[in-house]
């Protein structure tokens, strides 16, 4: 059984920089808000949902299987199961493709999917050295033993391991994400000025797109008093300038480095929820969906060059039947780093790269700037890792509808050396 999946509607919370407007809300809260709003605005009967699938990268320790917690809290009936999926930055996309695969396997027709991430609430951890001491302390029986262990603590034991920092490091290859960006940028010959110019454009486009983006954003009434309305992304900077970007110091490589906080994606809180179902079910329900998922692929590559993931994924999708890149009217390529986006654009259009790396006779093709991330990208809007994949799909579909285009491509690079690409079609 093979059937296409349609995206009926979707909504996301505003994306807000870490430790700002949404910091008091955990990943479960954010997802609950997005799902509840999705159900409210669509008026869809929650009883008719078969499963909830959410992407989340940093599983909150107080809401393990955050999809289940969020689903229950959003009023989805208890009998409807929920699962959290994890493919790093592609987790939000994974929720969509899993829905499709389940539908094809005859395991449901209607799914609430999406992703959620509260990077503000990533934990701080005790170091290995301190952990042992705490365990022994807990097991100590006498006052003397306890005192002895207490005295063995050193100041360094209390300097925490930052969960976020660890998460952004690929332990397979030993590089952190920024370092992989430096590598692909260097190899593709992408300069600092280009990156900063790209970053500036992302902000400018996001600012210009405020009203368009508002269509996909729900309001958040922020705790504790619920009297503050958060309804716009707070990442885009109106007064961003090349000069200001140029002044920033490279974060990952001293001296020769090019990747700065300004030309990398922002660390952000946010959640996305999409209502998806089989094409036939949508027809039966008389719904007019936003769009259709037609093709998709994930592909692996050298973890040190994970930023090129989209190139490999787009290639693989094409081999699985997807149309050539030129057919895309809208492209959302996640801006993990300006360096990596620009390197992807080059690699896709490079006959040499495509032959050498992918064994193709011809390059995959160019992504013209006027089709790429036209409403800004993660450099301006932010990159709540588990949610971004679903955000790209939502933004792409709404833009496709606005433009009256036919096809959209949403793609991103994935830490650990993967890429994901989803082809969508206007319904």
């Amino acid at each position: 059984m093979s059937e296409r999946l349609v995206i009926v509607d979707g909504v996301r919370t505003p994306f807000c920089r870490m430790d700002t407007d949404l910091a008091r809300l955990g990943a479960a809260d954010l997802a609950r808000i997005a799902i509840a709003d999705l159900l409210t605005r669509t008026g869809f009967d929650p009883e008719a949902i078969d499963e909830v699938i959410l992407g989340c990268v940093g599983q909150p320790v107080d809401a393990m299987n955050v999809a289940r917690i969020a689903a229950l809290r959003a009023g989805i009936p208890e009998r409807i199961p929920a699962v959290t999926v994890h493919r790093n930055c592609a987790s939000g996309m994974e929720s969509i493709t899993q829905a499709h695969e389940k539908a094809c396997a005859g395991r449901g027709e209607v799914f609430v999917v999406g992703g959620t991430e509260s990077m503000s609430n990533y934990p701080l951890l005790y170091r290995e050295s301190a952990r042992g001491k705490f365990m022994r302390l807990a097991r100590a029986k006498t006052l003397g033993q306890r005192l002895g262990i207490l005295l063995s603590f050193r100041p360094a034991d209390f300097s925490p391991v930052i969960g976020l920092k660890e998460g952004l490091k690929d332990s397979a290859c030993g590089l952190n994400m920024g370092q992989t960006a430096e590598l692909v940028g260097r190899e593709a010959g992408v300069g600092r000025e280009e990156m900063d110019a790209f970053a500036l454009r992302s902000h400018q486009r996001a600012i210009a797109a405020r009203e368009r983006l508002a269509e996909e954003i729900c309001r958040v009434f922020a705790p504790p008093k619920l009297d503050r309305v958060i309804d716009r992304d707070n990442g885009p900077r109106e007064n961003q300038s090349l000069e200001a970007l140029a002044r920033l110091r490279p974060v990952f490589e001293r001296g020769t480095g090019t990747v700065t906080a300004g030309n990398a994606s922002q660390i952000t809180d946010g959640a996305v929820a999409l209502l998806v179902m089989t094409e036939s079910r949508a027809a039966r329900e008389g719904l007019s969906p936003l769009g259709i998922l037609t093709h998709y692929a994930c592909a692996g590559l050298d973890p040190k060059r994970m930023g090129l993931g989209p190139v490999y994924a787009i290639d693989r999708a094409e081999r699985l039947g997807a149309p050539p890149l030129a057919e895309a009217d809208v492209v959302e390529l996640n801006e993990a780093f300006a360096a990596q986006v620009l390197a992807c654009q080059r690699a896709l259009d490079s006959a040499d790269f495509c032959r050498r790396e992918l064994g193709r006779d011809a390059p995959i093709g160019a992504i013209p700037d006027e089709k790429l991330n036209v409403n800004g990208g993660a450099i301006a809007l932010g990159h709540p890792v588990g949610a971004s994949g679903a955000r790209l799909v939502l933004t792409a579909l709404r833009e496709l509808r606005r433009r009256g285009g036919r096809r959209a491509l949403a793609t991103l690079c994935v830490g650990g050396g993967q890429g994901a690409a989803l082809w969508l079609e206007a319904a």
Binding site: R32, D37, G43, G75, F221, L226, R228
Partner: protein, 712 residues
């Protein structure tokens, strides 16, 4: 007695007899004479059974241990019957206490009044930690006192202060609270109550604290004096049961068991003979009736029918209150308003209400979050296909309401009930703007929503029978008490209240002191004086209601200019810091000289309290009679119930119509005619009253006219 109907005894191999209360065909157990007789017979058997090593009393019901005495049976008894059943209950419970083997009550579910008194006669009490388990002696609330040993045994068990707290407060405690004060010995999951009770029996009879420090003559005298002071302040002296309870309970600690039981019985007989008790018991029955009420002629709803999704339109104080209440009762709520700002104000109101609940430990942290989670604010025109009930609480303008309802009717499902919370517009007119007038109904909550139990369900001209049935069930489902009224200006509560408040305003304008007016009505038994009430509600809100009523009943309602002037000056009452009174940040409110100035009249001569009471109370009585005359409700008790629950009308008087019966229609009409002659035609007796006076009839069939002695 050979055939046990309400009780069965399970003899176990370990020698324990488990006495199970299980009244057939009912979800409740109560003590009627028959059940007491059965228990007596069971005890007789157990007394002579040498193999019995202990007794556990328990219930087979899902949510009730024993709910107390059968009030229906009690209220049908004459004085002799009361004395008889009182004594019999005491004897049976005494028999429990005197059993030679240890005894325990294994309590799950409501354990009230006589049910708790049986438990008190046992050696041990074990309760379940379930929410259904509620323990207490609420007798004083009904105008009587615990008289099957409760007033005697509780102070012995927990000490005088805590016992007084429980009995005078008529408190119904969760199991944990009962354990904290020492009224139960253990709290365990419901599955284990019998097992734990059995385990306790194994350790024989407990050694109990003697509470010598508080249970002595001297301490009792001190406690009594201070408790009496509090009671006088709280009851205004209208509720004798509290004072009799105080007397019996404080004396019990220095009397023999038998002597104290004798006092319980005396008090019971004395109190049950009063109108106060009769009226309080009636209110209890009316509450029970409201909980189960089905409108005659409406379809039976299927078993287990429950509304699950609600949309509240308008996030103002009422809308937010309704949304919060529904969410706290487990319903999913869409909260709709026209923009983010009013929604944010509504969400803030809701967050505050929930925070208070959490602070007072009415809900746990998780429950508080669940309540907030269930509320979905939106300012979009969202589909309402799967919404079961819409409650509209937007601003009171006919054109706006009609537009809203046209839109609601178009966007909702065909089963969606469309309710308005209007207090001052014609619901029939609102309904006519839609293409589904049969789905439109009034569900009128009172402010503050969380406190006011009464909800007027308003039947408009075209309201369909199923809509009406579902509206009533919905109100019951969320734990409110419905009264069904016909669509007419002000429905019942505001209709009857308006002439009363306006009359208070006129008295003030004539120069009567604000405090004299309020004190008069507090003495009458109202929970708050009328001018203070206007201040609490807000002069603007009260004025709005009054104007609306004046528009429809100009011959009876003429708003004194001082009310309008106060509003113009922004003296709206408590919320603005001043109205008829000035509200200091700390301390008691004092009369507002500015209000007196605005009234124009200088201080007039002091009028006798009785005159004041007559003018204000009879304004209500007259209007209440008109409501009945116009058949706004089915029966007089609907009006009395609405006024007691909706305005706090002196409960011991049983409501305005019951009060009229107690004076007798002839007397009421005579007084009204007197007032009409002196103060104007607005006091002219209603036709119904005049007719009743002619025929010497009463509103209620069980009343004899004119049996009351008190004034007004």
């Amino acid at each position: 007695m050979n055939d046990l109907r309400n009780i069965r005894v399970e003899r176990r191999d370990d020698g324990i007899a488990v006495v199970v209360f299980d009244k057939p065909g009912s979800s409740a157990n109560t003590f009627d004479r028959r059940t007491l007789e059965e228990l007596d017979a069971v005890l007789a058997t157990l007394e002579s059974d040498a193999s019995c090593r202990g007794v556990v009393f328990t219930s087979a019901k899902d949510a009730i241990f024993i709910a107390g005495a059968d009030l229906m049976e009690l209220s049908g008894l004459d004085a002799e019957g009361i004395r008889d059943i009182g004594r019999f209950g005491q004897q049976v419970f005494g028999r429990v206490a005197r059993l030679s083997v240890p005894t325990a009550a294994a309590i799950h579910g409501a354990c009230l009044g006589g049910g708790f008194e049986l438990s008190l006669a046992c050696d041990w009490r074990v309760a379940s930690d379930d929410k259904a388990t509620r323990i207490g002696l609420p007798e004083c609330q009904l105008g009587i006192i615990p008289a099957w040993g409760g007033s005697t045994r509780l102070p012995r068990l927990v000490g005088l202060p805590k016992a007084l707290d429980a009995i005078l407060g008529a408190k119904i405690m969760p199991a944990k609270k009962a354990r904290r004060i020492g009224a139960v010995d253990a709290v365990v999951p419901r599955e284990y109550v019998v097992r734990e009770a059995t385990r306790r029996l194994g350790s024989g009879r407990p050694q109990r604290k003697a509470h010598r420090l508080v249970n002595n003559r001297l301490a009792a005298a001190v406690i009594r004096r201070s408790a009496a002071r509090t009671l006088r302040r709280k009851t205004g002296g209208h509720y004798p049961a509290f004072f009799r309870a105080l007397d019996v309970v404080t004396k019990s600690v220095s009397s023999s068991l038998d002597r104290s039981l004798e006092r319980e019985l005396e008090a019971l007989c004395e109190l049950t003979a009063t109108d106060v008790c009769r009226n309080l018991v009636r209110i209890f029955f009316l509450q029970e009736r409201a909980k189960r009420y089905q409108v005659p002629g409406t379809p039976e709803l299927p078993e287990g029918h429950a509304e699950r999704r609600v949309a509240v339109v308008g996030a103002g104080v009422m809308g937010a209150g309704i949304a919060q209440w529904c969410a706290a009762r487990g319903l999913d709520v869409i909260l709709k308003d026209i923009g983010p700002e009013p929604l944010a104000r509504g969400m803030k109101t809701i967050a505050e209400l929930v925070r208070v609940l959490e602070k007072r430990r009415k809900v746990s942290q998780v429950e508080a979050r669940q309540i907030l989670d269930r509320i979905r604010p939106t300012d979009r025109d969202v589909p309402l296909r799967y919404v079961d009930v819409v409650v509209e609480a937007a601003i009171e303008r006919m054109d706006i309401k009609q537009a809203i309802f046209r839109d609601l009717a178009a966007r909702s499902g065909e089963r969606t009930v469309l309710a308005t919370n209007t207090s001052a517009l014609s619901i029939s007119e609102i309904a006519r703007a839609t293409d589904r007038p049969q789905a439109v109904v009034g569900i009128h909550f009172f402010n503050p929503v969380a406190k006011m139990q009464l909800v007027e369900v308003v039947r408009a001209e075209d309201t369909g029978p199923e809509t009406l049935a579902r509206a009533v069930r919905f109100v019951q489902q969320i734990g409110k008490l419905p009264v069904v009224v016909r669509d007419s200006p002000g429905f019942v509560v505001n209709r009857v209240l308006a002439p009363y408040l306006v009359e208070a305003g006129r008295l003030f304008a004539e120069g009567v002191e604000v405090e004299a007016i309020d004190r008069a009505m507090k003495a009458f038994g109202m929970p708050m004086g009328p001018l203070r009430l206007i201040d609490e509600v807000g002069g603007d809100v009260a004025g709005h209601v009054a104007r609306y009523q004046a528009q429809h009943f100009p011959e009876r309602i003429e708003i004194p200019p001082v009310l309008e002037k106060l509003v113009e000056q922004g003296l709206l009452g408590r919320k603005t810091g001043a109205g008829f009174y000035v509200y200091p940040a700390k301390g008691r409110p004092t009369p507002n000289p500015k209000a007196r100035e605005l009234a124009g009249a200088s201080r007039g001569p002091a009028l006798p309290r009785e005159t004041l009471q007559r003018r204000m109370a009879l304004a209500m009585v007259n209007e209440a009679a008109r409501c009945l005359e116009e058949r706004l409700v089915e029966a007089p008790e609907d009006i009395d119930f609405a006024m007691i629950m909706g305005t706090g009308f002196a409960p011991f008087r049983g409501g305005p119509l019951r009060y009229a019966d107690s004076l007798g229609a002839r007397e009421v009409v005579r007084r009204l005619e007197e007032l009409a002659a002196a103060h104007g035609a607005r006091f002219a007796p209603s036709e119904l009253l005049a007719e009743m006076a002619r025929d010497n009839r009463t509103f209620y069939e069980d009343e004899r006219p004119g049996t009351a002695s008190d004034a007004a």
